[in-house]
């Protein structure tokens, strides 16, 4: 018995070693890794699909908060291109000499106030319903992205401040690590409401989970979303960078509620 057992164990270990020695990447091994703000979660996936159909080349997308990516890139993260949700984070990488050029604005984002089904308030652009609900204690948790890491979280905070609601909500916020997580908190009903990207509210997976309104642009600094190629970028990444600026890609962004950059931006 022990002899058989020992052989079984050896077989198990050598099997593991064999499994381990097969190529580690199962994607197209040299497909460039693209870091993208979470507001692009659905739109950029569509753009990448179209890119693959038209060119036969693939990219690997990693979504997260812009601030987190800037930290990862500075620490040696293997990204070839970065699509931020603002301009400031790109400027930081430019200042560190990690980029090719200063990048381009590829879209301008908007934010929405979202109320899940059964929420204790009705969303309106002036946030009056939200104000009443919080003053009467009916809203316990509002989901936004972490303003320290995510430009959309910053825009949410600015909007609340602009409406004089920041102090009421300061202790009632549930912070998503990125804007997509904030949207997930709000749409799943884990929070009573949320302020997050219009692009996520327009995604098919969110439809039917609640009601939302676009918040007026003047409530926050514009979310001019800039992208940039990293110095390590290869040909596929450079081609994808160009593709994102083509009319076909712009059309996909427009479908997800992004506005095109104004000429000269």
């Amino acid at each position: 018995m022990p002899g058989i057992a020992r052989r079984t164990l050896l077989l198990f270990l050598s099997g593991l070693a064999a499994g381990f020695s097969v190529p580690m990447t199962v994607h197209a091994a040299d497909a460039p890794v693209i870091a993208a703000a979470s507001s692009l979660n659905f739109a950029l996936a569509d753009v990448a699909d179209l890119f693959a159909r038209e060119t036969g080349q693939t990219v690997r997308l990693s979504f997260g908060s812009s601030g987190n990516f800037v930290r990862q890139i500075a620490q040696g993260g293997p990204f070839e291109m970065f699509l931020s949700a603002d301009e400031e984070y790109v400027a930081r990488l430019v200042a560190q000499g990690l980029t090719i050029g200063r990048g381009d604005v590829y879209a301008v984002g908007r934010i929405v106030l979202f109320a899940p089904d059964g929420a204790p308030f009705e969303p309106d652009p002036e946030m009056n319903g939200l104000r009443e609900a919080v003053l009467s204690g009916r809203v316990r948790r509002l989901a936004i992205a972490n303003p320290e890491l995510a430009p959309y979280g910053r825009a949410a905070r600015e909007s609340l401040m602009h409406k004089g609601l920041w102090d009421s909500f300061k202790d009632r916020l549930v912070l998503g690590e990125n804007v997509s997580q904030a949207a997930q908190f709000a749409t799943s009903g884990s929070a009573d409401g949320g302020i997050f990207a219009y692009s996520l509210a327009l995604s098919p997976n969110v439809a039917g989970r609640g009601r939302f309104v676009l918040l007026p642009e003047h409530l926050h600094a514009p979310l001019r979303q800039r992208m940039v190629l990293m110095r390590r970028a290869g040909d596929v990444a450079k081609r994808f960078y160009g593709f994102v600026q083509q009319p076909a890609a712009r059309e996909i962004f427009a479908r997800y509620g992004f506005q095109p950059p104004r000429p000269g931006e």
Binding site: M1, L16, V26, N41, R60, S62, G77
Partner: protein, 222 residues
């Protein structure tokens, strides 16, 4: 269902077992049978990852191996790619984090071998190597299998360290636990649910086999 994430997790778990179990055998024998100064301290260090928050280990690995650290720069010069946000970095983190799972069950198994059995092996003129191979290892094998299975299963479920030192890079560092997190954020509850069920099944299979093995141990001695 993100198959590439599952395969990546299996590779990470397999790699961790393949590196850690031989090291575990090497470390467990003296810990089981010898007394020496500082043994308590070493055993405490081995057990430390059981109580250490994964983010603490992740933080130190980032600091130690990030692109700005001297160690990280040396590694990148030698190997040509950074340690953080790569599979190799994950593997290192995973090995460190599984040290208690890879050593403790083996140590317990060696401790359970009666001294009389080892003495009999010496008296019958067996070499150290032969005694290890023919006497110690067969008697300790349930501990070895437990260590391998626990390490394997624990690696599949690892999240905090992976997120901190691995990021979320498809095909490179997006393990199945990270893929579940990623799918939940993308409102893809179908994929998240399926992957969670797969991980639940694998985890139950692993822990179940450890318990079945533990219950059979007295019978195999008799």
């Amino acid at each position: 269902m993100d198959w590439s994430a599952l395969i990546l997790s299996l590779q990470l778990a397999g790699g961790t077992v393949a590196v850690l179990i031989p090291l575990g055998i090497l470390a467990a024998r003296p810990l089981a049978w010898r007394r020496f100064a500082g043994k308590g301290l070493i055993e405490a260090l081995i057990a430390l990852p059981l109580v250490l928050p994964p983010t603490v280990l992740g933080y130190y690995l980032l600091v130690a191996f990030g692109g700005n650290s001297p160690l990280g720069e040396v590694y990148e010069k030698l190997v040509g790619r950074p340690l953080v946000f790569t599979f190799e970095g994950l593997l290192l983190a995973s090995i460190l984090f599984n040290v208690p799972f890879g050593i403790q069950p083996i140590q317990r198994a060696f401790e359970a071998i009666p001294p009389a059995v080892r003495e009999a092996a010496w008296c019958s003129g067996m070499s150290v190597w032969r005694a290890f191979w023919r006497v110690e290892l067969p008697l300790a094998w349930p501990g070895l299998v437990s260590a391998a299975v626990l390490t394997f299963a624990h690696t599949l479920g690892e999240f905090g360290v992976v997120l901190m030192v691995g990021g979320n890079i498809p095909g490179e560092t997006r393990t199945i636990a990270i893929a579940i997190y990623d799918r939940v954020q993308a409102f893809d509850t179908d994929a998240a649910g399926l992957m969670s069920a797969v991980l639940l099944g694998l985890s139950f299979l692993a822990i179940g086999s450890v318990y079945i093995l533990a219950n059979r141990r007295p019978a195999s001695h008799a």
